[in-house]
């Protein structure tokens, strides 16, 4: 499948501080790629480099086959949508006025506004002034603005960080619909649940380096300890080997009708992150 993003040996140094070091990855068309890491790990720096807002110190980054140093042109910008923590809205204007403005900038018909507002669950609030919105609602308007022109590639920097679970779920649903249509998503998050729900592949970024890169399922299998977690009616929880060795033991429990549930002992992405980096994945 065609690579939309290709990054080779990317490095970025600010003064004497290394933000990114020998970063290599690619993102395929239609894929949702998760860049996971705590604050300061280099996630936003990577997005800025890929969107032409920042130049790397060394290495190559290509988006749609064009080097990132040549990305400052209108035709590229029409193909991407960027939602980051430095995105803003016009505070004295209403939601609809903000979105109409961006429709005109991107040459998109105004009827598209209703579609994106429905996606972020703000249809009934469109006449509200931005200054009167909560942080979560503002984040949803920003996301609506990012989706207005139906970009081929979305850069989403912590898109649901300020949202409650219901709205997060609705946004996730909307993003899944976009990927079904072929939109490629480059997502940064520290929310492991979000990564597991949305991402086809994830990269763990820590101290500017990619520590691990694979599909969430593959990572969980790779780091699984090969045991099953059996919950018994007595309230006890026992771990038994997942292979032939544990079959007899599990049979014993089941034949005595003692089993409530059986789960494979796969770690969460958060557990794997801690295991690999020795650090909790905090904001």
């Amino acid at each position: 499948m065609e690579n939309i993003i290709e990054v080779k040996n990317l490095a970025k140094v600010f003064g004497n501080q290394t933000a990114l070091e020998d970063v290599n990855f690619n993102v395929k068309k239609g894929e949702t790629f998760g860049f996971l890491g705590p604050s300061g790990s280099g996630k936003t720096t990577t997005i800025k480099i890929l969107t032409g807002q920042l130049l790397q110190t060394s290495g190559d980054a290509e988006v749609f086959g064009v080097k990132n140093t040549s990305l400052n042109n209108g035709s590229y910008r029409k193909r991407i949508g960027v939602l980051s923590d430095n995105s803003g809205l016009y505070q004295r204007l209403s939601i609809i006025e903000n979105l109409k403005f961006f429709c005109d900038l991107y040459d998109v018909p105004h009827k598209r506004i209703d579609e994106v507002l429905e996606l972020v669950n703000l249809t009934n609030e469109k006449k509200k002034g931005i200054s009167k919105l909560s942080k979560g609602m503002t984040q949803r308007v920003l996301l609506a603005r990012t989706l207005l022109h139906e970009p081929e590639l979305l850069f989403l920097d912590e898109p649901t960080s300020a949202l409650d679970p219901t709205n997060s779920q609705q946004i996730h649903e909307g993003l899944r619909r976009l990927t079904e249509k072929g939109t490629t998503i480059f997502l940064t998050t520290h929310d492991m649940g979000e990564a597991e729900t949305l991402c086809d592949r994830v990269a763990f970024l820590h101290k500017g380096k990619i520590q691990l890169l694979d599909e969430p399922k593959a990572l969980r299998r790779q780091f699984a300890d090969g045991t099953l977690r059996v919950e018994l009616k007595s309230g006890n929880v026992v771990s038994i080997p997942a292979g032939a060795k544990g079959a007899d033991e599990l049979y014993q429990f089941m034949s005595k009708d003692e089993v409530v549930s059986v789960h494979s002992n796969e770690p969460t992405l958060g557990d794997i992150f801690v295991q690999v980096t020795g650090k909790e994945l905090l904001v």
């Binding site: 800025k48 969107t51 032409g52 807002q53 920042l54 130049l55 400052n72 209108g74 035709s75 910008r77 029409k78 991407i80 960027v82 430095n86 995105s87 803003g88 809205l89 016009y90 505070q91 004295r92 204007l93 006025e97 403005f101 961006f102 005109d104 900038l105 991107y106 040459d107 603005r145």
Partner: protein, 237 residues
């Protein structure tokens, strides 16, 4: 290079709505109008010097300040990044963001001229000179706005511009004593004043082009510099 009128107009419409509700910035137009009222009551027949003190003050305070504040606010509220990442080109953004300033400046100048009773001998030539001057002040405002981090910082950083260009004609009196200040003669505000004197004396384009050329040179430098600073601001440091 093609310009999209739709995008330019969208920026203009948005800025107009936004500025209409931004009393901190839009109230600056009161300053030259108050000065015009003051002088119209205290002076029977205002001289060209007086007319142009008010006109230059309007250009420095309204044109440069509004342009500077509008850009600085876009930076402060992180909306400039949204514009930079949109398909709008640099000329579209610079023109779009200048139209509302241009509109307010023209209104202010017309009101001031009406109050002080300024009726130029050749209105077309004066309009050309004023338009070129506005381009210069918008360029300066744009540069200062891009260099400011907040709207408050912008209102401080623009003060020297208001002083030098708004009241610059007062510096002319110091040239005899301090020859180092002779460059003041070539400032766009002084050239505009000299130009206006010549127009009143009945000079034609042949005698006036040099004044226009100097103001135009200032305007071109300001526009190029604003483009360079904008391009630099597209990249984070």
């Amino acid at each position: 290079m093609t310009l999209s009128w739709k995008r330019i107009n969208a920026i203009f419409q948005k800025d107009t709505k936004d500025l209409w509700k931004n009393y901190f910035v839009s109230s600056i137009i009161v300053l030259p109008i108050l000065m015009a009222l003051l002088y119209s009551y205290t002076t029977e027949e205002p001289s060209i010097d007086l007319h142009y003190m008010i006109i230059n003050l309007a250009l420095a305070s309204v044109t440069a300040f509004i342009q500077c504040a509008v850009i600085a606010e876009e930076k402060e509220k992180h909306t400039l990044r949204g514009l930079m990442l949109s398909p709008a080109s640099i000329p579209e953004i610079l023109i779009g963001k200048s139209l509302v300033t241009l509109f307010l400046t023209v209104i202010t100048l017309l009101v001031c001229a009406f109050i002080t009773g300024y009726q130029p001998a050749n209105i077309a030539l004066v309009a050309v000179a004023l338009f070129i001057s506005m381009v210069f002040y918008m360029g300066i405002g744009m540069i200062l706005g891009l260099l400011s981090r907040t709207i408050i910082e912008a209102s401080f950083i623009v003060m020297p511009v208001i002083f030098i260009f708004g009241f610059g004609s007062m510096l002319m009196g110091l040239i005899d004593r301090y020859p180092v200040l002779s460059f003041v003669e070539y400032l766009p505000n002084i050239q505009l004043l000299e130009f206006a004197y010549q127009v009143e004396l009945g000079a034609g384009f042949g005698e006036l082009w040099s004044y226009l050329a100097v103001i135009l040179a200032w305007a071109i430098v300001a526009v190029i510099l604003s483009g360079v600073v904008y391009k630099k601001r597209e990249l984070d440091e």
